[in-house]
Structures are given as C-alpha cells and as structure tokens.
Amino acid sequence: MSTTIDKRQAAPAAPAENRHEARKRRDRIHGWSFMAPFLAFFGLFLIWPLIYGVVMSFTGKSLTGANSSFLGLANYAEALGDADMWHSLGNTLYFTVISTVPLVLVALLMAALVNMGLPAQWLWRLSFFAPFLLASTVVSLFFVWMFNPQLGLINDVLGKVGLAPVDWLNNPDVAMWSIVIASLWWTVGFNFLLYLAAMQNIPTAHYEAAQLDGAGGWRQFFSITLPQLNQTTIMIVILQVLASLKIFDQVYQMTGGGPGGATRTIVQYIFEAGFTGYRLGYSAAISYIFFGLIVVVSIAQFAVTRKRSA
C-alpha cells in the first residue's frame, strides 16, 4: 500500500485523471483483496455445494457412489408424489404453528414482567436465558428424562395431583407437543431478550405522558408498549417461523421422528432419504423443494416488512 502512495508522490505532475484512475485501480485491488478470503470460503462451501446440489438432484446418485445417471426431473416428480415427504412437511408446519404462538407470547410475558424493574432482575434474566446456551443434545437428554413414562418428573407430578400419566414421547397425539415444550424451554430466552431490549427502547416520555393523562399500568401496556413492539413482534414471528421450518435437532434426538413417523420433520426426511436410504440424488431434490418453501416464506417476510416501513 505504501508503494502506491510513494508512486503518487513521485509523480506530482501527473494529470488528475491518471490519479483518479490509479486510485480506482488501487481501490479495486484493495476491495477484492479484502473480500478474497471471505469469497474463497463462500464460493467453495456455499455457492459450489448449492449448485452441485441442484446437479445431484437431477441424478440418481447414491451414498455408495453408484448410479450417477441423469434422471432429469424424475426425482422432483417422485418427491412431489411421495406421501412420506408431504407427511414430514405437514409435521413441520404443524410444529411451526403450535410452537410459534407460545414462543412469542411467553417471551412477551417474560419481558413485560422483567421490564417492570422488579427486584432480582439478574435472576430472572439468568433463568430464562440460560437454556439458550445449551446444545440441543443436552436439552433433549434433560427432557427425555423428564418425560420418562415411569420415572419421569412430569408424570410424577401429574400423579401427585391426581392426573393420569402421559406417554409423552410415544403417543403419536402427544409427541409433537412434548417437543414443543422442550423447544419452548430451550429457546424462549432469546425472544425474551429481544422483546426486553425493544421495550427498554421505548422512550419513557411516552409513559410519563400517559401517566399524566391518568392511564394505569394495563392501559399503558396495551396502548403504548404493545403498539411500539409491533415491529419487533413481526420480526420475531417471522424468524421463529423460519427457524421452526428448519427444525431437526431436538426432534431427531427425542423421538427419532417417531412414533411411526408422527414427528418426523422435513429436514429429517431429507437426512433419511439421503443417508439411511442411500439416495443422495433424491434427497437433494427434496431439499430443493424445501428450499423453495423457505424462499416463499422469506419473500413474504420481505414484503411484509417492506410494507410496514413504507
């Protein structure tokens, strides 16, 4: 870099355009040099697999390396007619719907409570947020143990209040709810933090003015706090939806997709089609169909946030 500057100083009589050209050239070199490391990884481990995945989806490639024959759109056609795929997608959407609601509302409740400036703030923050730092496997181990039909804490408590034990992870009607409970415990802390930060961003002047007008606590919450949180809420909901669509870890770890495929999510199906069923090409096709869904949701997100800020 210093050499370029020396060159500039060494030719003081050079016309303005040359200097301009030199600077632009230097900027170009610098720009691409700074970008190069990132671009190298980006190209090698994101762009290339993304493209190659599409290529794979047009073949019958197998885990064993066999069968790279070109199949055209056959994999896609098969995927769209695959009952198991639709079932997995359905499970995923079901999970998304039933988990997003509590993950937003409970976070809001927690943030509202903590925002009141109650004593021992640090304890509340710690309790709600600490689970977020755990790996999914730890969360799953905790909850599989708590959901144990005979020895689990939850059925024990149910028994003590006179309710029948529940087969949390083996009853197809209940299994997904069990996973929602575990997911709620695990990740609500994050939404909680976001809400809390947003709440603390609301200028106190608004509240003071409302107080002068005679508005009480509840009124203030509904008329000032909530509307001010609209943007945050939308953001949280959208991100929660996108995250839920990609769910894999805790489902695979707690139920393995069972019982009988009742909790199998689309990502798990992608994993199974490719690695358990050996059909990498077919699995790639399914993953691009899934990608399409994500793109649709993301575009919807974009449109909604665009409209709001307009």
């Binding site: 019958g60 064993t64 066999a66 393995g256 009988g260």
Partner: protein, 445 residues
C-alpha cells in the same frame, strides 16, 4: 504519525484480532497435522482396531466381556468398541462412515442386510485362506448361514450367531395343562388348531392367557411370526429388482388370518406390545412366549421354569425366522494390512469363544462350539439349536433385513390386520403394493 494513535489504538480488539489470527493459523496448522489421524494417540505397539456394533442391554454386556477377554489375551491388537443405537441410526452412520473412507476396521451387521448393502462397494470380501490360517473355515458354519453370507461367490459376512424366533414355554403351566410330551418337553404340535387348543388349555391354568406375543408398534415382531408361518407353508417370497414382488397371496392371507385368530384375548392378548408380553411370561401369567432367543436371559433371571424350542411346525415344513449378527469388513480408502490381518485374528478369537455368546440365548454360528459338550449341556439352548438348520432370512433386497424399512412397511400395513381393523387381504395387498413401488425404483446401492 504513529505514536499517540498507536498508544490508544492498541486495544483489546487488535490483540484479539492478532490472537485470534494466531490461533487460527496455529489451529489450521494443527488441524492439518491432525487431519490424518483420528485424534487419539496410538498406544505403543498395539494396533487399534475400531469395532462398531449395535448390541446393548444383556447382549451388550456379553459382547463387552468377549471383547475384554480378546484384548487381554494378546498384545498385538486392542479393540475399541463403539456402540450405536439399534436399527437405522446404526446402519446410517456405518454407511456414512464407509462413504467417508475411514470406517471402523470391523463391524457387525445383521446378515440379512448384507446382500443388499454389499454390492455398493462399501464392504470388502473375506479372504477365506487367511481366515483358515486362524482356524475358521467354511465347514465350521451351518449350510444356511454360510449360504446367506455370500454374494456372487464371495463371502461378505462371517456370522457370529443366528438368533431365531422361537417358542419358550412354562414347563409347570404346560404340565398342568397336560400338553407336555413324554420327555418333559412340549408335545409335538403339528397343526394350527392343535396349537390353539394347547394355548387355551394353558390359559385355563394361568387364568390369563396361553400365549404371550407382543407386536404393537413392532414391525420386526410382526414380521418374524408371519414369515415363520409363511415359510412353514413352503411358500417363497422373491423381490426382484425392477419387477413385481413374487409372493403367494393365498398363503399370506391365510397366515395373517391365523395370527389374528390367536389374538382373541383368550389365547393371547389382543394388542400387546413387546414389553407387556415379556412381563406377562416372566410373571408366569402365560404358558408360552413367542419371541426371539435373546429374551432367554430375562426369563432365566426371572426364574421362570421354562424350556424352549423352535416354533412348532404347524403348516408342514419346518421353518424358523432368524437373522444373524455377522462380522463385516468395511471398505477402507487406505487399507492398513496389519490392522486387517489383526481383525481376522480378533474375529476368529470371538468365534471360538462364542459359548459365552450362547449364554445370551443366541445359537453360535461356529459349529465346533455347537458340537461341543459344553454347549450340548447348555439348556434350554440345546433344545432349540436345531433351529439353525431351518432358518429363513429375509428375502434378499436392498431394503430388507433387521431394523430396515421393510419391517416398518410391514408394520404400517399389517398392524391393523392384527388389531382386526383391516381385512387381511387388504392389508397384505397394501404391503405388496408398497414393495412393488420400492422395487420399481432404481437400486441405490
């Protein structure tokens, strides 16, 4: 130029950047050095053999004991076992490890899964000459087991055992029900009706059921009983790639209806799962248990007075469903000849010591052990050892074998037949349609 700014500029961030940069560089360097090995240091001298298997519970304890004694008996190699969850998680990871090029040196697979898996090139065939130098030859295995270990004339699996689906019966209950033969064992039953009668007699004695059979949510259990009876009819099942499944529909429907007739709540509970069935027989609430040989230790621990035998030949041809735990050689990208040779020694060692394995209920595949006095005196194992001669593995296809999707498909369609919610012929037809769909797809292996 630099002075003042430098002083204030040397903040945490620059140090962090340099430190993290340095860490990154040293990390990448170390990663480069470590990328070759598995991260664990080699013990001086002894070759480390990674051994994957899917045996847990009682089986797992016995296998661990056999591994420990093999390790203790010599200095040349040390076997490091990894146990993964039975079924899809195990087989998926094994395939992925093999695809990755550095799979474990030796692994166990169910023998019925090998024909479907081997053509992909993820397994190496066994060198029979090398095996012979360790005292293991073709003649040391029962014919049916040996037959199933081959593909295109090469041997891909060396069986440790066969573990058939058998009948255990409570000798006291059977005695009181009057169905014991002269030799103190269950009388010879040769018809489906007689079997039901005997069960009902036993049910009177226990006051509950005559037969414990758990099948709910368990495709493997459903398939085991079905296939045993199906083969007893002498019917065959073939799954040719690219064509329709060749099955005997009439026999299949008959068998399904027969099994359903057993689940009437008197002979056997209408909708029992595995755990319930085992608990029932262990608690002496029934006269018979239809299950795999691996439940033997449980019953011995529960001090049930029982004996065992192959499932009675109710339909003409003696047949028993079974699978085998077999040793396979995952294909290595860079084969370490010494390690491969040590694997042969290890496997031979395990086979010769498989009397211990028999105590877990399994029938050793290694005939010298089966022919030994010690085994002949091992009861009740010796009473069902004959099942090894009549065993039937799953029909060959890339999607069959223990813990495979094949058995899940069976469950999906047949559970409702057993529960009485669907007609046998409808359930069967749906199952066969599923098979046909699978067969019409290209074989991914």
């Amino acid at each position: 130029m630099h002075g003042a700014r430098e002083a204030s500029a040397t903040g945490l961030s620059r140090r962090t950047l340099l430190r993290s940069g340095g860490l990154a560089l040293s990390g990448l360097a170390a990663a480069g050095m470590l990328s070759g090995c598995g991260g664990t240091a080699q013990a001086a001298g002894a070759e480390q053999l990674r051994f994957w298997h899917l045996l847990s519970g009682g089986d797992g304890i016995k296998m661990q004991a056999m591994i420990d004694s093999a390790n203790a008996s010599q200095q040349a190699y040390k076997v490091l076992p990894t146990v993964l969850a039975w079924g899809a998680p195990y087989y998926t990871k094994l395939a992925m490890a093999s695809a990755g090029g550095r799979p474990p040196e030796v692994a166990i697979m169910h023998a019925a899964r090998v024909p479907g898996y081997a053509p992909g090139g993820l397994l190496d065939p066994w060198d029979l000459d090398l095996l012979a130098t360790h005292g293991v030859t073709k003649d040391d295995f029962a014919p049916r087991i040996w037959e199933n270990s081959q593909l295109d004339g090469k041997v891909f699996s060396i069986a440790l055992d066969s573990h058939p689906f058998i009948l255990m019966y409570n000798t006291e209950v059977a005695g009181k029900a009057g169905v014991l033969g002269a030799n103190g064992q269950l009388e010879t039953i040769t018809s489906g009706d007689r079997f039901k009668e005997a069960a009902l007699e036993m049910a009177k004695v226990t006051g509950k059921h005559g037969l414990s059979y758990g099948y709910l949510s368990d495709g493997a259990q459903m398939w085991r009983m079905f296939y045993t009876f199906y083969r007893q009819h002498g019917a065959t099942m073939e799954l040719p790639q690219g064509q329709k499944a060749k099955v005997d529909r009439d026999v299949a429907v008959d068998v399904l209806e027969y099994i359903h007739s057993l689940l009437d709540g008197k002979i056997a509970t209408a909708s029992g799962d595995g755990g319930t069935a085992i608990a029932e027989f262990a608690g002496q609430g029934s006269g018979m248990l239809a299950s795999g040989v691996w439940e033997l230790p449980t019953m011995q621990t529960a001090k049930v007075p029982f004996d065992a035998m192959p499932i009675p030949t109710l339909f003409g041809t003696p047949a028993a469903y079974a699978d085998s735990h077999a040793f396979v050689l995952p294909h290595q990208q860079n084969l370490d000849e010494q390690k491969r040779s040590d694997v042969y020694a290890f496997v031979a060692q395990i086979l010769k010591g498989s009397l211990n394995w028999a105590k877990a209920g399994h029938i050793p595949a290694f005939q010298p052990v089966v022919r030994s006095e010690a085994y002949k005196n091992l009861l009740p194992q010796a009473h069902y050892a004959g099942a090894a001669d009549i065993i039937n593995y799953d029909p060959r296809a890339w999607f069959t074998g223990s813990g495979s999707d094949f058995q899940s498909y069976f469950a999906e369609n047949i559970q409702n037949v057993f529960l009485g919610r669907t007609q046998a012929k409808d359930g069967w037809d749906a199952f066969v349609r599923r098979l046909d769909t699978l067969l019409s797809k290209p074989n991914p292996v």
